[in-house]
């Protein structure tokens, strides 16, 4: 059985989840790994949940990750981290932006946002203020690059950031974990 490292990225449509996974995939290919990435987005552009899955190792077969199989859950939004927890492997790590984005049922008052779940959990959860960091650096849109920096540090993978991306955001992410 080929051993792979499995990552599940999750966020809300428009947050740059897919782009971040792509940048990390390229870095992993450059590092010589076999890599597969799944980016099933469906109607995600309309503010739905976006999941991308990334697996790497000597040889990867199925590109998707089943429940209980993710070594890392990387969340760009706090409630999405919670939603993705069933995918986490025993002993796996969650990295999440502390940002909260309210979905339509929350905005309409039909559902409650789980503000406090991080405090209640026993999982290994690392929280970073990626959105805030990016905002302070001048562009909140770069919060995904902050996350990418943090992930690259966690995995110990060197990422050569293409010049059009914000290197400061990336470095800040590396320092945040």
């Amino acid at each position: 059985m080929a051993k792979t490292t499995n990552l599940l990225f999750t966020g809300v449509g428009g947050q740059g989840t897919i782009l971040t996974t792509k940048l990390l995939s390229n870095a992993l290919v450059d590092a010589g790994y076999d890599v597969k990435m799944s980016e099933i987005h469906g109607m995600a552009q309309r503010g739905g949940t976006v999941n991308t899955q990334l697996k790497y190792g000597d040889k990867v077969y199925a590109p998707n990750i089943g429940e209980g199989e993710a070594d890392y859950v990387i969340a760009f939004e706090k409630a999405e981290a919670l939603r993705a927890l069933p995918y986490l492997k025993d002993g796996g790590v969650v990295l999440t932006d502390e940002r909260e984005i309210y979905s339509m049922p929350v905005l309409l008052g039909q559902a409650e946002y789980p503000h406090g779940w991080l405090k209640e959990t026993e999982y290994n959860v690392k929280v970073i203020p990626a959105y805030e960091i990016a905002e302070k650096l001048g562009s909140a849109r770069d919060s995904n690059i902050v996350m990418l920096g943090a992930v690259s540090k966690l995995l110990g993978i060197a990422v050569t950031l293409p010049p059009k991306f914000n290197a400061k955001a990336f470095d800040a992410g590396r320092e945040a974990v």
Binding site: G14, V35, M37, E39, R46, N64, M104, P105, L107, A111
Partner: protein, 606 residues
């Protein structure tokens, strides 16, 4: 050779490019869209200089049948051609596909079907492998991006060798997964001479009968040839008692589930299926498993030809397949230790997709929902299908492309027969109008149906990610093209001018008045065109700059009137009892919420 990580769709486009494809046409549809997008990019800026006389023409077509016919025309004419569609698109294209197979081709033709097990973004889970035998198409199934590239090249070769279109059958997980691919170079091919053989290409009964015989002969020849084809692959692992027969993405899931504990026969050519291959493979094992996502399609062939018992599992007809489902179905213990499902007590609130901030459809659906009890809504396939959700509940029925304008004809008759006086509203977008909505509209006018038909024109094919259509000024390759007028098309049916209402859907006075007029028209067709561009169009975003709305907390009385438009940028602070714009980056300042405010608390700011 250069290595890249590509999605299945990108790899198919690249493979077709390398195979010398000259004409490619498609109607967008998830998960197939990126195939033509990538071919369009390759046509617009080729990665290497083209040989003299070589070229690629890539275009969107108004529907899948037209795209298939464009590709067929090119193939018969002598140019290698391709069309790609989502699975339900193949239903639309079935007519030219079935008869085109009888006629055969000249240069190679590849038809790509992208199925969607699990309905990630589709209306059904149909398994288009069943089309291959029905339509007499050679079928190949790739399982990763490298195979996507290699198989599309092989498909062109097989198409020419056996004089049949080839169906390259993919699934969402193949289309939208990325894996490492080694790229090749484009091999330019001379256009084959067009011979205009009407005894082949005109499917008169006399020709069709003869062609049918030839098609069956060609398929039989391929069935033989498939035995030694490298597209099929046996992986015999030492000391294994079970042989697994599989294809496409199911192969990857099977490898994940069983690892090296079994042997594999991975079929690349899945129509026609080479039964001798199955018989020879099976005799080495005690038992055979068939692992296939979707309908039991390979299974009957295996049952007919395997020389040892075939274990029958509960078929994976519904939902996407994964390793865990395979393990459960075949009683395999979980391979990796330490894997368990995380135990969660708190649950996350749902996050359903919604109409974007600034979406023009919101203005229409809000106005319509205000006339509750006076209308019955019939929707269609596009972003506006989201109008079905609360709080709009804008439609009761939506099944397929174009039906938004034809279902109302029948529905209005049925409602009339039971004394239900509500007006039936059909609604579809500009792209869907060009796809098939116009045909339905012609019928509605001709039949004097008592309906209101609404074209939600946002100037782009939006749902699939902004593809050009006949109403846009540029084509897939970026060239300027004539823009076809929806308004003139509608008036060409003879619909009286006063029955065509063109409005800005954000402006609730205009929008509401148009809906009221349509409801009060006692018979015949009323058509409304809502004209307002998609908020996500690059030009629209650029023109908007930082414009957005803000709520003045001094003026806001907390009445929540603005919340009725259900905009994702607008939130309500329950503790302060004030509405506020929570997402100023995505708020477009369209001002729909401001029209709801009775105290003038919402203002546009730059």
């Amino acid at each position: 050779m250069q290595k890249q990580i590509l999605s299945g769709n990108e790899a198919v486009a690249r493979g077709a490019w390398e195979a010398g494809v000259r004409v490619a046409a498609a109607y967008p549809g998830t998960p197939s869209t990126e195939i033509l997008e990538n071919l369009g990019a390759l046509a617009a800026s080729p990665p290497a200089a083209l040989s003299e006389g070589d070229n690629l023409y890539a275009t969107w077509a108004n529907n899948e049948a037209i795209a298939t016919e464009i590709a067929f025309g090119a193939a018969v004419g002598g140019s290698r051609s391709l069309t790609a569609m989502k699975h339900v698109g193949m239903n639309v294209a079935a007519d030219p596909i079935f008869s085109g197979a009888y006629a055969g081709i000249n240069a190679g033709m590849v038809i790509i079907s992208c199925d969607d097990p699990g309905c990630y973004s589709s209306q059904n889970e149909q398994d288009n492998r069943l089309y291959a035998a029905h339509a007499k198409l050679i079928m190949l199934e790739p399982s990763d991006s490298q195979e996507c590239l290699d198989f599309v090249k092989a498909a062109f070769e097989l198409s020419e060798q056996f004089d049949l279109p080839v169906l390259l059958r993919m699934t969402t997980r193949v289309c939208h997964s990325k894996s490492v691919v080694t790229l090749g170079e484009r091999k330019a091919r001379a256009v084959k001479t067009y011979n205009g053989d009407w005894t082949k290409y005109v499917v008169l009964p006399v020709n069709a009968r003869r062609r049918h015989i030839i098609v069956e002969e060609n398929l039989a020849k391929l069935r033989e040839a498939s035995y030694s084809s490298t597209l099929n692959r046996a992986e015999n692992n030492p000391d294994t008692k079970i042989g697994v027969i599989t294809s496409g993405m199911s192969y990857q899931h099977a490898k994940e589930a069983f690892g090296d504990t079994v042997s594999y026969l991975k079929l690349g050519i899945t129509y026609p299926i080479c039964t001798k291959l199955i018989a020879d493979f099976s005799e080495k094992f005690e038992e055979i498993y068939v692992v296939e996502e979707g309908e039991p399609y390979i299974l009957p062939s295996v049952q007919l030809s395997a020389t040892v018992p075939v274990v029958i599992n509960e078929p994976f007809i519904q939902g996407e397949l994964d390793a865990e489902r395979i393990r459960a179905a075949f009683g395999v213990a979980i391979v990796e230790s330490g894997v368990r499902k995380a135990e969660i007590t708190t649950s996350a609130p749902g996050r359903p997709p919604v109409l974007c901030a600034g979406c023009p459809h919101r203005g229409f659906f809000y106005a319509l929902s205000n006339r509750n009890g006076k209308y019955v809504g019939v929707g269609d396939i596009g972003c506006y299908t989201l109008g079905v959700n609360a709080p709009f509940n804008g439609m009761d029925i939506c099944i397929c492309m174009g039906s938004g304008f034809s279902i109302p004809i029948g529905l209005s008759k049925a409602l009339e027969a039971q004394g239900d006086t509500r007006k039936v509203f059909g609604m579809l977008g500009d792209s869907t109008f060009f796809h098939s909505g116009f045909n339905s509209l012609v019928d509605a006018v001709h039949q004097k149906a008592n309906v209101c038909l609404v074209v939600l024109d946002n100037s782009i094919t939006a749902m699939t990610g902004h593809q050009e259509n006949s109403g846009t000024e540029k084509n897939l390759m970026g060239y300027e093209v004539p823009k076809v007028s929806i308004e003139q098309m509608i008036l060409s049916t003879g619909l009286p001018k006063e029955r065509l209402l063109i409005v800005n859907p954000i402006d609730q006075k205009q929008m509401g008045a148009a809906i009221d007029t349509a409801i009060s028209n006692e018979s015949g067709v009323t058509v409304i065109i809502t004209k307002y561009p998609c908020a996500l169009l690059k030009d629209v975003i650029k023109a908007r700059g930082t414009t957005h709305c803000e709520v003045d907390p001094e003026k806001c009385v907390g009445c929540k009137s603005c919340m009725k438009v259900a905009c994702p940028s607008l939130a309500f602070d329950a503790s302060k009892k004030k509405a506020y714009v929570a997402d100023t980056a995505n708020c477009t300042g369209c001002g729909l919420c401001a029209q709801m405010c009775k105290v003038g608390a919402i203002k546009e700011v730059k």
